[in-house]
Structures are given as C-alpha cells and as structure tokens.
C-alpha cells in the first residue's frame, strides 16, 4: 500500500470515487465554527460549576432560587422557534416559498419573544431582587455572563435570519443552492441546544 506504484488497475476508480462527491466546503467550515463556539460556552459552564462547587451552597446565601416556571415558558418559545425554523428550511427545499416565509417570520417573532422574556427576567432580577452582573458575587457573574452570551447569540441569530429572509426574497438562494439557509438553521438549532444546557444548569439542578 505504501509503495509507490504507478497507475495500476483500479486506481482511476478510486480517484473518481474521491472526487465525484460534491461537498460544500462552507458547511464543514461552519460546523467547525459551531464546535469552537460550543467550546467557548463549555468553558464558561466549567467556570460556573467550578465556582458553584467552591463552597457556600447554591444559590449563595441571600439569593433566591431562579423562577423556573417563567423560564420554562420562555424555553418553550425558543424550542418552538427551532421547530418553525426546521419547517422553514423543509418548505424551502420543497419550493413552497409562502410557507417558507411564514415559518421564517414565525421564527423571528418567537426569537424576539424569547429575547423579550429574557429582558423581563433580567429586569425582575435586577430591580426586584437586586441581583446584578458585577454586584452579586459569583452567582450574578456566572448567570448574567452565560445567559447574556446566549442572548447575544440569539440576537445575532434574529438579525441573521432577517437578512436571510430579505436575501431569499431578493432571489439570492435557489431551490438547489441555499447554503445560507442551511447555516442559519444550524446556527439556530445550535443556539437552542446551548439553551437546553443553560436551562438545565441554572434552573433545574
């Protein structure tokens, strides 16, 4: 196998096999980007558990447990947007532009709804409970940093989806070539998955 053999029978089939599959380089690159983004979140989650286990109990003295019910409703909104995003892409693949646009708008609205919910939760914490980013010890630091990072990702996602919608209205994508939409969908699901982790570690355990 390792010996230099000049063209032997079968070599050309091997070569053809290797090059016939048309693969989109951007998809792989984007997935790798999501992996490295995931490591960023993982590092902060590691920091959260490290600080959480450093004594004192959790939540630290003087801080109430977070409101699970409200966050659960908000989570359902975000997961719902994941479903609508999925159907938006499916409809695009099948050429149903109107349904695609409808689901896309639904996703954007649900995403904005989630952000609104998060803003409400932040306001509640800061105004009523006086829990702040810098002034409430490691609880405020880890909670606001991680959910803030996630919220930032959602905001970027909403803007990106809006741009994608405009692009598809202007005919940038076709039924065969729609990498932007695939990337948007992947990104949106990624944001969902991160939220599953954050919801579990902040509200459930």
């Amino acid at each position: 196998m390792a010996v230099a053999t000049l063209p032997h029978s079968g070599a050309h089939e091997e070569v053809d096999q290797l090059y016939k599959e048309t693969r989109d380089l951007r998809l792989q690159g984007f997935l790798l980007f999501l992996i490295s983004d995931c490591v960023l979140f993982s590092s902060f989650i590691f920091a959260y558990f490290y600080m959480r286990n450093s004594g004192q109990g959790w939540p630290p003295p003087g801080i109430h447990r977070l409101d699970v019910a409200f966050a659960a409703v908000n989570s359902v909104i975000l997961f719902g947007s994941g479903a609508t995003m999925h159907y938006a892409l499916e409809n695009w693949k099948h050429g149903n532009f109107n349904r695609y646009a409808m689901f896309m708008i639904a996703t954007i609205v649900l995403g904005l709804g989630f952000l609104g919910g998060q803003a409400y939760e932040y306001t509640n914490l800061i105004v009523k409970e006086h829990v702040t980013w810098a002034g409430s010890g490691i609880f405020g630091a880890s909670f606001f940093t991680l959910t803030g990072m996630h919220g930032f990702h959602v905001s970027v996602g909403v803007i990106y989806l809006f741009i994608l919608l405009l692009q598809s209205v202007h005919g940038v994508y076709t039924k065969e070539k729609y990498f932007g939409l695939t990337a948007g969908t992947l990104y949106w699901h990624f944001v969902d998955v991160i939220w599953v982790a954050l919801f579990s570690i902040f509200y459930l355990v």
Binding site: M1, A2, L32
Partner: protein, 557 residues
Amino acid sequence: MSTAAVSHGGGIADHIHPEPQGFIRRYVFSIDHKIIGIQYLITGFVFLVLAGLLAEVIRTQLLHANGGFVSADTYNEVYSVHGSAMVWLVIIPLITGGFGNVIMPLQIGARDVAFPWLNMLSFWIFPVAGLMLFSSFLMGAPVAGWTEYPPMSLQAGAGTSMWAAAIFLVGVSSTLTGINFVVTMFQMRAPGMTFTRMPLFCWAQLATAPLLMIATTALAAALAALFMERQFGVPFYDPTKGGSPIMWQHMFWFYSHPAVYIMILPAFGMISEIIPTFARKPIFGYKMIAFSSMAIALAGFMVWAHHMFTSGLAPYLQLPFMILTFTIAIPTGVKIFSWVATLWGGKIHFTTSMMFAVGFLALFTLGGITGIFLAAVPFDLHVHGTYFVVAHFHYVLVGGSLMGIFAGMYFYFPKMSGRLMSEKIGKWHFWLFFIGFNGTFLPQHWLGMLGMPRRVPTYDPQFTFWNQFSSISSYVMTFAILLFFINILVSLRNGKKAGPNPWGARTLEWQIPSPPHYYNFKHIPTVYGLPYDFSQPLPYKGLEEELTDTPVAVGAH
C-alpha cells in the same frame, strides 16, 4: 495527458482564477495562501526581533546580582511581554499561519486553502493584535508573566486588559486558521492523495488545526472573564468575592498545554520532511509518525494540571496527571526514534537546513527529557517556579520550535523566493546559534536546581558566574539571529537561483516552479503513492506541463 478528465467536484479553488492585479491586491490584501503565509512569516519575524530585544533586556539585567539595568517594575513588564509575544506573536503564527499557509496547500495539491478570504482576515487580525500587545507598554504593561495568574493580573495596570484583548484577538485569528486548515485538508487533497499518502508536514498541521480551533476558544473564555473582571468588576477570579484564582489556572492551562503542541507539532512536521530529503532515504515509520502526532494532540488535552502541582491541586488528582503526562513521552519517543532510524544508514547531506534539523533532534530531546522530570510530582515540587522550568521550556520552544522554524526557512526559502539562502552565512548562523543557545540555557538547569527563582530581577550573588555566562551566550545567540536576517536579505538579492527542486525532494511542492505560479498547479496532479520512496519513480501523474511554458487558460482545470 492531463488529469482534466478527472471530474473535480468540490473545491472553490478547483479552477484557475485570474491573478489579481495591482500591488495592494497582490501583496497587501492578498487572498493567495503563499503571499499570506509570507506575510505571516515577515510579521512574525518582526515580532521575533522585538520580543528578542526584550529577552536581551532580561539577560542584561541579570548580568549583575543586583540588576540595575531596568527597574524591578519594568523588569516584570519586560518578561511578561517577552513571553506573551514569543508564544502568541512569534512561534504560533510562524509555524501555523506562516509555514502552514505557504506549504500545506502545495503539498496536498490544492490551488489555495478552503476559505481564502477568511485566511486574509486571519492574517490581518494578527499584526493588529501584536501592536495592541506591544502598545500595552504605554499604559503599564502586564506584570504577571505570560501566564498572568490572578490575583496579580487583576491588580496590575491598564495594560493587562489590553493584553487580554490582544491575546483574545490572536486567538480569533488562530481559530479561523484552524477551521480553514481542517476543511482544506479534508476536502481539497488532490485526487489519489488519501490520508495515508499525505506528507507528514500536512499530518502535523492536521493534528495542530483542531488544537487551534478548540483549545484557543477555551483560552478566549478565560481571557474574556479576566477582561470583564478587570473592567467591570464581575467576580470570577477574585477570592474575596467568591471567585477562584485557581480557576484561571485550570482554564489557562487547558489551552496552554495544547498550545505547546501547537508550537511543536508543525516543527515535527518540517523535520519529518527535511530528514528523509537530506538522508536520501524513505522516512522510517511513516504511519507511526503520522498517528503519533494525533496521539500527542489528543493526549495534550488531558495533562494540563501538571502545571499546577504546587497550586493546591487535590493529591488524588496529582497522580493521574503525572502518569498521563508521562504517556505523552511515548508518541514523542516514537517520532524521535523514527527520525534517528531514518538517518541510520542514510546518505546524509549536511546542508544548513539539515544541520538545524539534527540540532533540533538533540535539543528537543533534552527539553523533552526535562519535561518528564517536571511531570514527576516530587521533582516538580522542588523546582517549580525556578530557572529549571525556564531552561526546560526554552529547550523545547527555542531548541525545538525555533530551530524547526530555522530549518524550515532554509529548506523552504528557495520555494518561496526562487533563490537559495547562503550556506556560508547559514553555517555561521547554525554554529553560533547552537553554541549560544546551549551556553544561555544549559546553565539555567543547574541554577534552577540550586533554587534560583524565575521572574525576579535580582539574585543571590552565588549565582553570578553562571548568570553572566548565560547572558554573554545570549548575546552570541542574538548575533546569530542577526546573521539569519542578513542571510535572508542578502539571499533575496544575490542568492543562487534555486530552480524548482534544489534539494531533490519528492513532495508535490517541489515539482512546480519556485516561486510557484499564482494558481500553483496547471493541472491538479493525481497521486499514486507516498512521497518518501527515494529511488522509486515519482508517484504523481499530470505534472508534465508544470515546468514548461504552456500557457494556462483562466477557468481551466
């Protein structure tokens, strides 16, 4: 006769794009991987000069037991910026962005990397971040060493925030490069170039790229937290607010231990190219060298806490981290023995490049062995934070990575410029560097064993002799590096014409003109075997027109 019959499916760079015209598009904001690689090399070497001058400030300060060359505060700033710059602005960019960009796409038979525009972005982040790091001197540079442990890094001047931002940006650049390289090597290899036919330099880059992509992001989190704590008072590391300084050490070393493999694996790769070429012998243990790179990269993620044996790490964690660290010696030993076995019975040509490669073998082995010492908890407790550690990592980073970079420069300079570097100046460069390097760092082993702490501007007078020996040797080393730059400048103008393949090497990049055309290959070649089988015919087809004047049609395959 061409391989155009083979259908090319994937790559963006599958057909020939017209070369951009105009100086700016060609040499400044270029998307050509070769130009970008050379930009990385030039920028990295500029930072090498700056960080090297800082090293000379350190050595000059240590000429006398009482110091006196700079103040103690300045001394802290100097060694902190020296370390940070050498790691993030010199070795990593030179060895990944520099050589990786210039050589890797040529070796796999591609016309460019997967995302040329992203590549340009990666590069341009890097000099900006470098300027930010050095500008931190204007506002009170970081003082806690390149590791910037809190609480000291929390208390230092504004420059530490600048440091964090600069390193974060370098990290973004590294991450993007890593993504780019992984996709390039997975998707853009020439037909027939299976993974087990890929040159070993590419294997080394393939092991490095995931480290760039994954480990660097972990550091980004640690830096972001440091930045937030310093600028907005968000508690992460301050123990008085519930944070933990040890947490920084975990997050920092979870990146920075893999980072030492980022700095050494590509050098391994270049050595694996240079040694068979100048021994005129097939490389010994191709697959073992390739897989050991992967093993090192993987194991590199599981050993970070060996930097923290004196930081209050739980005793039951010390033993596993010690043993895991020892296991890294196995794949590394596989490589060393394979290179030695390649040399065994070969017809060795002692060009400058080969001398640096053989020097690398000796020095890196020494540095690796002291690494095993340091991994042993009882020994580490004794010498932690002393000059023994300084000697150890300079043996692997200067004796290893930097020697690898020099070997690679002498080897690949003809491919980049079309001219050979002067062997005469090169030999002077090698011997002065080799002697100066050992004179500088060998005595530091015993200074450390005797208990001389690192990062202190003064020392006990009993250490004076070896410190002066070390400092004077370091001037020799600096002079050798000056010779290297003189050699580059002289050879660019007056060097002998190299021709396509001055070394008789067999990988793809040597089968095309030096410097290569913008489009690299007129026709993408087909690969039928390993590139290291000296005495066999070349295992490529479709290269017949590469060295002729046949014009290429833009848009052709």
